[in-house]
Symmetry: C2
Subunit: 749 residues, 2 copies
């Protein structure tokens, strides 16, 4: 077994066990975790010692003196219907978690709060309502289940009184709230039932927009670096602003947006924004009618400005911290997640932050590619699952099964675009109680090192078909489209996430391209474009498709020989546009398909299904589109339908000029569906004759990666069952038999 | 067995069989059908002889001389994408059936044709395109299956050339087309493979808007009346304008709207319209981007004007024909359907037409109520299924089963609101070959006559809960909401049609109320309102719900003690409105529910299901919402959820002020779902304690109608299986056992 490329979490008190494990797994780095300390033996075992570092939380005694310098967040109260025209009272904190937020009552409410009549959409004049501080209503213990607790000194609420509401109109209050507890720490505390542990102190936030805070953050890092000569890698977890994560009054997650910028707000920042952009943002620019600019929303110009503004300021400050780390001869590593807002690795100028590395949690193939494709750092590390936490490592849990499933998904991506390192996190003492789990880790680490040892860490050959995934965000959301929260499954995104998950392990060069880039000519570097998503979302495109220029460019691209793959409701127009043009899919001509809204039911639809096609040739059972859209139909003389269960067309192909289009009503990830997409991309790219030449196996459960530099094939069984099949490539054939989850290396000379 | 109330179709050549059957079934009226002649024995058998009469078709030799006086219809060409900026040619008849339509090339194309760039929504100036007559491209015989045929002398096409199209824009031509074959006759001919029969002549249409035609129509009727003293009842089938029915180039239905006014167009009428309304309608007012103003569309002001205009003119002319019939001592009966446009029985002033009766086809309970509730005529007749046509009466067909199923559905409605008469249609000689079918007819006729004999034809007692079904059309669409074509099933309407089908047999006074009427105060006469439909349709309401006045009235109605039942996407707002107010259901506060669009996925939804509730008390298995909407969730502190399968809430209840709301994600008709609606109406109406007092059976398969005038209960088994149950009413209980489909009469003193 070779060495290195592996980070293990270690802790004090189990030195002998750590030594034995290190001997066996040969890690080259160790780390602590939230709640553990590094033992002194660390450097005896490995080259590098990581330490987590939280720049903007944790110095609670200092922070307690500055309650006005918390990071703020815009929230919307529950909507309240006025049942009479008598004064209407709204408790703004109703439904929110009193340990997480407190309304900011010190600010200029005329500017930083906003009361909206949601029935008319009108903002009320500031003299139409008044504001009174109020005791926060702590929910009773029963409602909180096992998580009641003492009051927090900073917790409070406020009552807004609307003096003369209109009867039966609905009102909301947009209010600035202070984040009085760091969101990730809160999540960890609630998950581990630490919230009532008197030994643990809840971390306050503080906002680097305030000069006093920023000076303190820098000073603290300087002191910490001096005090920790044993640390080689400062693992920032993370920087200043958390993604949007809101808890409800029963301490359950209420709103989560892994990409959200709602929690990066402060009055100094809003003032600086106004100065620089020449206009003031309103609370509603953040609240967005309660949708909080989720990445599924078509981004507004104001929100884009705020993202740009925040990103530039955060990166500028982060670069200063990284310089301090480098000045001490240490490396700076960023954790991908938590307080990562403003340092998204696919944002512009990310490289200028100067980080050495990024580490992120691997939830599946897509999240793995999200890490391994990051530009502008020297190395990338994937933290594999499961995290060594009691939620999995217990008598009912299945740590071995979780490790296998996680690696099965991640390996597809790692083969395509190798991570430089892998690692684990959590409490090693807990994991060591499960010897079979340690065996499994050994198997995983061995397979991972082989990839580097056999190929020099190079990526395998990619198909000549260059793929672009269209969306409103472009490359900023590389491998992140349709993600609500990191790798969490959602029934309604299943149909679309599967496309990204499949692509993450398929042999294609993939780019994420915005509609604006398409209008600026980006299609010239692509062979097939994918548009996957539900109507009205940033991923399908919504009102972008009402733009004749965009339509013309895409139609021309396909008509001249390009490929278009639509999933779900591709190019779906806003309803107002459908009323004047008659179709729902703007590209109904390209797809040869449209979708039936109920006001179009009077049209008769006739569907004939084609039995055999290149795209479906490896299907052994019927295509499963999952909980997909219904009502899709072939237009007159339009698409060739490959499957049409009750409810409408689920799979179809269409030729358009010299180009081709493929449609899936949904494409949840499965071995079979990944193969369908693989074939669809070859067919849409007009090179189906190359499919067998490019090293593929006739069994979709076996994926093949070809390394021309070393004339090797990495042949992987991507299922938990034994598989066999015949591999074709460059006119040769090879029969293979693989055990469950096997990875084998074959020479292909 | 008692007598009368029954109309039988008879024909020549089977006199003896007809006599025997008349002895057995005791009809009091006979009729001919399309393709049969009345035998001379007719008057010997019955009191009344009906004869079909077609006022505006059939005099083909005369009509051939006036090809310019056909009824016209607006059609939209297939959309065509310009692949270059070279002149673009569009054959307007492509995809249409050459025997049905021919473009009108004689009219002023600047005014009566319209070329639209559908990519921009702009109408092209008339000098941007030119028009050339063209031979119609008859499809080849293979494409037409068994229905090819000779050319029609009036068939033709036209090529529109757009001189300088914009590359990759999509163009359509709205064109005025002459109807060269009557649509119902075409349907019958195609269905029966008569189209190539040299003995049969295809009926031309002619439009009574032309003075020459109108004079001829009146003269022909006068002559016919003189020539047919044996006829007692002139059964108009029907008047002047057919509902919208368009065939494709393979002679299949392409577009059908049983309520459509697209086929009532002529240049004189358009000119008279402009004169009267002060503005000219454009072709697009009819074409409506290809949706042709289907009743699912929110009606436009222009379309409403056209309906009013056409209705007034048709009723005025129809009244003249009816007067002529009455002057001869005969009765005038209207067939509900076919060329019925302008004489819809729930339209204003229908009564002034002066008809004696209406007869219609009974497809289910809802279509039965559509007939039996008609105001302003002396009697109403339901033509039961099956029609005696070879499509059912053959070796594979099941005429007995169809008759049973049809009666099972219709009887629920007839018990609630008795029809005066029933009847059959088609070829008696065919039906007589199936003796078991004749037995079944005897059973049906017996049950029908009992209703009249036992109760004097009165309606049974109704619940005190008065029900209003909200929709954009109001009473005009009584019992016709969500209907595409008469009683035909559509997967996407199943969830909503079930509400109407259930209501048609439940003991409630039901009204169909428009949103405009609600704004004018109509809610004061109602106890529970139902809003059922998909977002953006006339039945859910679409942009109506953006009106604060409507919202205020409905909220106030419920808050003060009214009931609201929502099905599917009730009160769903247009997407643009959702963006500013945050909710999809405008009445999310009343329902305590909203629906998740994909840009709202970041919200966490927690659903807890209540096990027991008054509404679900008779459910023995899980609620089946059919192919219903997904993504519905209870708002914070909102609805009590009664069922929530994977995908979202399917059934919930909510209290709002002093009132109550019930939600179903879909309610396809079934015995169980009808009972759910029955209970939901009592609960929403706040009188659930009256449910057992009002005569109900604990088995939902047994429906009970209570006749206070005669102290009788009509107890019907609405299934094809034996049933037993306990009936409660006014504090009494009765145990009953019923055979399949039984109707029994019990005294309840």
């Amino acid at each position: 077994m070779s060495q290195g490329r592996l980070t293990l979490p270690i802790e004090t008190g189990i030195d002998e066990q750590i030594r034995e494990l290190a001997q066996r797994l040969q890690p080259d780095a160790v780390r602590n975790s939230d709640g553990t300390e590094l033992p002194e033996i660390a450097h005896e075992l490995v080259d590098k010692v990581y330490s987590t570092y939280f720049p903007a939380r944790g110095d609670n005694e200092w922070a307690d003196k500055l309650p006005g310098q918390r990071v703020c967040q815009y929230l919307m109260s529950e909507p309240v219907t006025a049942q009479t025209s008598e004064p209407l009272k709204i408790d703004v904190m109703e439904g929110y978690f009193a340990w997480q937020f407190a309304p900011d009552l010190d600010c200029d409410r005329a500017k930083y709060w906003q009361v909206i009549d949601r029935t008319t959409g009108q903002t009320l004049p500031v003299d139409a309502w008044s504001l009174d501080p109020s005791e926060v209503q702590y929910p009773d213990a029963a409602k909180l289940a096992a998580k009641p607790g003492p009051k927090d000194s900073e917790s409070k609420s406020a009552i807004v009184t609307i003096h003369k509401p209109q009867r039966y109109h609905v009102y909301t209050v947009n209010f600035l709230a202070r984040q009085i507890w760091d969101s990730t720490q809160m999540y960890n505390y609630l998950t581990n039932d630490w919230a009532l542990d008197p030994k643990r102190r809840r971390d306050r936030t503080y906002d680097v927009e305030y000069p006093q805070v920023w000076a303190h953050v820098k000073e603290s890092l300087a002191q910490w670096l001096d005090a920790h000569p044993e640390v080689d890698v400062v693992r920032f977890t993370t920087f200043f602003y958390h993604f949007t994560l809101v808890f409800d009054d029963r301490a359950r997650e209420r709103y989560v947006d892994w990409f959200g910028y709602s929690a990066s707000v402060s009055i100094p920042a809003l003032e600086a924004f106004e100065q620089r952009y020449g206009y003031a943002l309103t609370p509603e620019d953040f609240v967005d009618a309660g949708f909080y600019n989720s990445p599924f929303r078509i981004p507004s110009a104001h929100y884009r400005d705020w993202m740009e503004f925040t990103g530039q300021r955060v990166r500028e400050k982060t670069a200063q911290l990284v310089k301090m780390v480098h000045a001490q001869g240490k490396e700076a590593m960023m954790f991908l997640g938590d307080n990562w807002i403003g340092t998204e690795p696919y944002s512009e100028d990310f490289e200028q932050v100067g980080l050495d590395a990024v580490v992120g949690s691997v939830g599946n193939a897509a999240t793995c590619r999200m890490i391994s494709d990051i530009p502008g750092v020297r190395y990338r590390e994937g933290r594999l699952l499961p995290y060594f936490f009691p939620d999995v490592f217990n008598d009912e849990g299945d740590p071995v099964g979780e490790a296998r499933a996680s690696w099965r998904a991640a390996r597809r991506a790692i083969i395509r675009k190798p991570l430089e390192r892998i690692g684990y996190g959590g409490y090693l003492s807990l994991a060591l109680k499960y010897p079979k789990f340690v065996d499994e880790v050994e198997r995983i680490v061995t397979q991972f090192r082989q990839l580097h040892d056999k190929t020099g860490g190079r990526a395998p050959a990619a198909s000549r078909v260059r793929v672009g995934v269209l969306n409103a965000w472009g490359s900023l959301r590389s491998w992140q489209t349709h993600m609500v929260a990191h790798a969490l499954p959602y029934r309604r995104t299943d149909a679309y996430v599967g496309v990204i998950e499949a692509l993450a392990g398929l042999p294609f060069d993939v780019r994420f391209v915005s509609f604006d880039e398409v209008k600026a000519g980006a299609l010239q570097d692509l062979d097939v474009i994918i548009n996957a998503g539900s109507a009205g979302t940033a991923f399908s495109g919504g009102e972008y498709w009402a733009d004749p220029d965009l339509l013309t460019r895409v139609r021309e691209f396909v008509a001249r020989g390009g490929g278009f793959i639509g999933v779900g409701e591709p190019s779906a127009l806003p309803e107002s546009q459908t009323r004047t043009c008659g179709n729902v899919f703007a590209l109904d001509d390209v797809l040869g398909l449209d979708i039936e809204r109920d006001f179009g039911l009077s049209r008769h639809l006739y569907t004939q299904v084609t039995a055999d096609h290149f795209v479906t040739r490896d299907l052994t059972e019927r295509f499963d589109a999952g909980p997909a859209v219904e009502g899709v139909f072939a237009t007159r003389g339009g698409a060739e339908v490959l499957d049409s269960p009750e409810g409408g067309v689920s799979l179809a192909v269409h030729e358009y000029g010299a180009g081709r289009a493929v449609y899936f009503s949904g494409l949840p990830y499965s071995v079979t569906n990944a193969r369908l997409l693989h074939r669809a991309l070859y067919w849409a790219g007009g090179c189906e004759e190359a499919f067998e030449r490019d090293w593929t196996c006739d069994n979709p459960a076996i994926e093949v990666a070809y390394y021309p530099n070393v004339s090797l094939l990495a042949v992987s069984n991507i299922t938990d069952q034994p598989q066999e099949g015949v591999i074709h490539g460059e006119g040769k054939t090879l029969s293979v038999q693989l055990g469950a989850d096997d990875l084998v290396w074959l020479e292909c000379e």
